[in-house]
């Protein structure tokens, strides 16, 4: 192949120009490769970090919060529900009746007492029939009910009744006044038939195991959030008393990012009984057939369930923040822009160098035409040389990209992500707001497709430069080319 030999001889002789063009393309594609690898690594890190923390199987959750008439204002018990319609206030009171303990029921003032109450806060419960309704909706693969309550343990001396309305009940003021310890915890009931749709999913278990699959066996079991167990100095195998009943700790869990900061997980039926909410749930978690169905399904459910609030997993993910998310965004926006600019600049440089090379070789190319070479053969010569530079640039660029990605992986900065808590807002007895967070090491994985992409991009750049130069060469009139003075 004469023209291949000729092209190689040409590239060898104009070594500086060849290397400059190839290096330009190499840097461009290396940047593209690194940014792509970084983005993939960040995606993977985000998945790795978020996976155990978000309810993996849950695409959307349906709740029935108390409707507050005035937008933006938050319900507080002290405001006495001023912003609620009568109907909503009744529902709220009904939900939290357990918290209104008559002092008389506890004993004589000064007596020692100990009791557990379950309150819903602002997440109203609803009949479990809603679960089946959601499950039947088109696009929904599975749905499970859940019940998340505040379990408050009260222990101390029965206080004197205070004058005024409500003075004969164990309200916040009575607790503050008297010698009473209170301890709130969040407790969730899990439908063990749908563990992946539970408030805690099997993938979140960091220690021990998940609740038993059989309801009967699961009734005596409990999973504790790691942080809660640590605070309480509890371990797998220990037993713990919740609502006056004994459970065996079978597992510890990591918190879901953006999920509910629940402390205690028990079998749903057991919690319903203990809290006096048989047949009622306050959340439905559902999985959609297709991620793209989720918004439509969410709308559909919201329309058929008055007062409901449907939250989708992607909305949750949007709430995730932290260096991981920042890095991911950065890699996507700035990194991509940088890679595109670098690539465009490299192609531009390659084009300009090829054009200047054609200009410098005007006489040579004209001679070829005078010697009987067709326009196409001359174009092929010019484009072939650019293509070879593209291949060279691609190989160098792929090597640079792999090396750069390896460096990133080796250095592997730690990135973190955090999410605001969801679930019932803190109510009486101040339940702590928990900011869930997670960490992961950054990697920039390079696979063969990425290497091929880099080489392909460089070759494409070489071809563009070759096309530009070839076009110019094709337009050379041999007569003018021969007059050209070098």
């Amino acid at each position: 192949m004469f023209f291949v030999h000729y092209a190689l001889a040409e590239l060898r002789r104009r070594r500086g120009r060849t290397l400059l063009t190839a290096l330009g393309l190499a840097v461009g594609v290396a940047l593209v490769a690194i940014v792509t690898a970084l983005a993939a690594g960040l995606d993977r890190a985000q998945e790795d970090v978020l996976a155990p923390l978000t309810g993996l199987g849950t695409d959307l959750s349906v709740e029935r919060p108390v409707r507050i008439t005035q937008d933006g204002s938050r319900f507080t018990p002290s405001a006495g529900g001023a912003n609620l319609t009568g109907e909503e206030r009744d529902l709220l009171l009904e939900e939290n009746r357990a918290a209104m303990i008559e002092l008389d029921d506890l004993g004589e003032p000064g007596d020692r007492f100990e009791t557990d109450v379950f309150i819903s806060g602002t997440q109203l419960s609803f009949p479990a029939a809603r679960v089946a309704q959601v499950a039947r909706r088109e696009g929904v693969v599975a749905a499970a009910g859940g019940l998340t309550l505040s379990a408050v343990h009260l222990e101390g001396d029965v206080p004197e009744a205070a004058p005024g309305p409500g003075g004969d009940r164990l309200g916040p003021s009575a607790v503050l006044r008297g010698n009473i310890d209170f301890e709130p915890a969040t407790i969730s009931g899990v439908d063990v038939a749908h563990p992946e749709l539970g408030a805690v999913a099997p993938s979140q278990i960091s220690n021990g195991r998940y609740l038993s699959e059989r309801r009967a066996a699961a009734r005596a079991e409990v999973i504790l959030a790691q942080a809660y167990a640590q605070r309480k100095n509890l371990r797998v195998g220990d037993s713990v008393s919740v609502g006056g009943e004994e459970f065996e700790i079978v597992g510890l869990s990591e918190p879901p990012l953006g999920g509910q900061a629940t402390d205690i997980f028990v079998e749903l039926g057991r919690l319903q009984e203990a809290a006096g909410r048989e047949g009622r749930v306050n959340v439905v978690r559902a999985r959609a057939e297709d991620a793209s169905d989720v918004p439509a399904v969410a709308e559909d459910i919201a329309a058929t369930f008055p007062g409901s609030q449907v939250t989708t997993a992607s909305e949750l993910a949007d709430g995730v923040s932290g260096s991981l998310v920042d890095a991911d965004n950065l890699a996507r926006s700035l990194g991509t822009a940088l890679a595109i600019i670098a690539m465009a600049a490299a192609v531009l440089v390659a084009c300009l160098l090829t054009l200047s090379s054609v200009a410098k070789r005007t006489r040579e190319l004209g001679t070829l035409k005078a010697l009987g070479w067709s326009g196409w053969a001359v174009v092929r010569q010019v484009a072939g040389e650019s293509l070879a530079q593209g291949v060279l640039g691609g190989l160098i660029g792929a090597a640079l990209g792999v090396a750069g990605a390896a460096v990133i992986t080796a250095v592997g900065p730690t990135l973190s992500a955090s999410a605001p808590p969801s679930g019932p807002p803190p109510l009486a007895f101040g339940q702590g707001e928990v900011q869930t967070s997670a960490e992961g090491a950054l990697e920039a994985p390079i696979d063969i497709r990425l290497v091929l992409l880099a080489i392909g991009l460089a070759i494409a750049g070489g071809l563009i430069a070759g096309a530009v130069g070839g076009l110019r060469a094709a337009r050379l009139r041999p007569a003018d080319a021969l007059r050209h003075i070098e």
Binding site: Y6, R13, A370, G372, S374, P478
Partner: protein, 310 residues
């Protein structure tokens, strides 16, 4: 082989047009050797490029073997260059990254000749120009004369019917120039290829079988060896004409001739005019009043006919 009829070539548009050729008639026979001479800028290279199909005439016809080149497409002109023409350039125009042998192979690379045949032909051609031992040298490693011989070998690679050489000795000293000329003469004599050679070296024109003289885009003399029996111009007429031309250089070529000068020019024209080519005679005769430029034209046409014997 070639017939040029009233060929003009104008570069650029009306405002800054350069009239490189202003009506050239020329016939070249098969196997003929011909030298085109003339001052710089007279249109020699333009004629050669029109002959070789590298350029197209603005008006008039350029025919090669009965085909009007102006009517051929670019592809057909390329085919003619590949099959019928061989070019030799003043600056050799070898490709600097390729060896002597590879340079000779360039025209063959455009054909589908098999590799073995090509290599054989290249070796043979270089042997013929006396460079059998330089095949793997790069142009930069060869002397000017050697480079031009490589270029001649390259021009012959496709067995052309005509060699078009534009001042092939212009960049060579006189002895290497003579060698190159010799090589071209042998090609013409021994292989029967037509050779069109451009030169402004008068000594080359002297020895040529046919000399075509261009001035200002026109053929002002076309002397074949057979035509040497044309009587030499009277010496006094030539001397008078030389004085007129010298005055023209001072006054400007576009100025009309003074009365005495005009009669000098007409006398010189009468003496040799019947031997001038039609185009030159028409150009000079067409206008009523002659300019100093016309005097220069006539002087250029007469000059080779001057009897140098005294």
């Amino acid at each position: 082989m070639f017939q040029l009829r009233d060929v003009t070539r104008t570069y650029g548009d009306t405002s800054a047009a350069v009239h490189a050729l202003r009506g050239v008639d020329l016939d070249i026979d098969d196997g003929e050797m011909l030298v085109i001479a003339g001052p710089s800028g007279s249109g020699k290279t333009t004629v050669l490029q029109l002959l070789g199909g590298l350029d197209r005439a603005t008006a008039g016809r350029v025919c090669f073997e009965g085909q009007d080149l102006g009517e051929l497409g670019d592809g057909e002109l390329t085919r003619l260059r590949r099959e019928a023409f061989g070019f030799v350039f003043q600056q050799f125009n070898l490709i600097p990254t390729l060896t002597a042998a590879e340079n000779v192979e360039v025209p063959l690379a455009a054909t589908d000749a098999p590799r073995a045949e090509r290599e054989h032909r290249v070796a043979e051609l270089l042997e013929n120009v006396g460079l059998g031992d330089r095949t793997h040298h790069l142009p930069g490693q060869l002397s000017g004369g050697e480079q031009q011989r490589v270029a001649i070998a390259r021009a012959l690679a496709n067995r052309p019917r005509v060699i078009l050489a534009d001042e092939p000795t212009g960049n060579l000293d006189s002895s290497t120039g003579a060698e190159v000329l010799d090589a071209l003469r042998r090609l013409n004599r021994d292989e029967g290829r037509a050779v069109v050679l451009i030169s402004h070296d008068p000594s080359i024109g002297e020895g040529a079988p046919r000399l075509v003289r261009l001035a200002d885009g026109r053929v002002v003399a076309d002397r074949s060896r057979e035509g040497t029996d044309v009587p030499p111009a009277p010496r006094d007429a030539v001397r008078a004409l030389a004085e007129v031309v010298a005055r023209g250089a001072e006054r400007g070529w576009g100025q009309p001739l003074g009365e005495d000068d005009e009669s000098s020019v007409r006398r010189a024209l009468d003496a040799v005019g019947h031997t001038l080519p039609d185009s030159a005679r028409q150009a000079v005769g067409a206008r009523g009043s002659l300019t100093y430029g016309d005097a220069a034209l006539v002087a250029a046409a007469i000059e080779p006919r001057v009897d140098r014997g005294d």
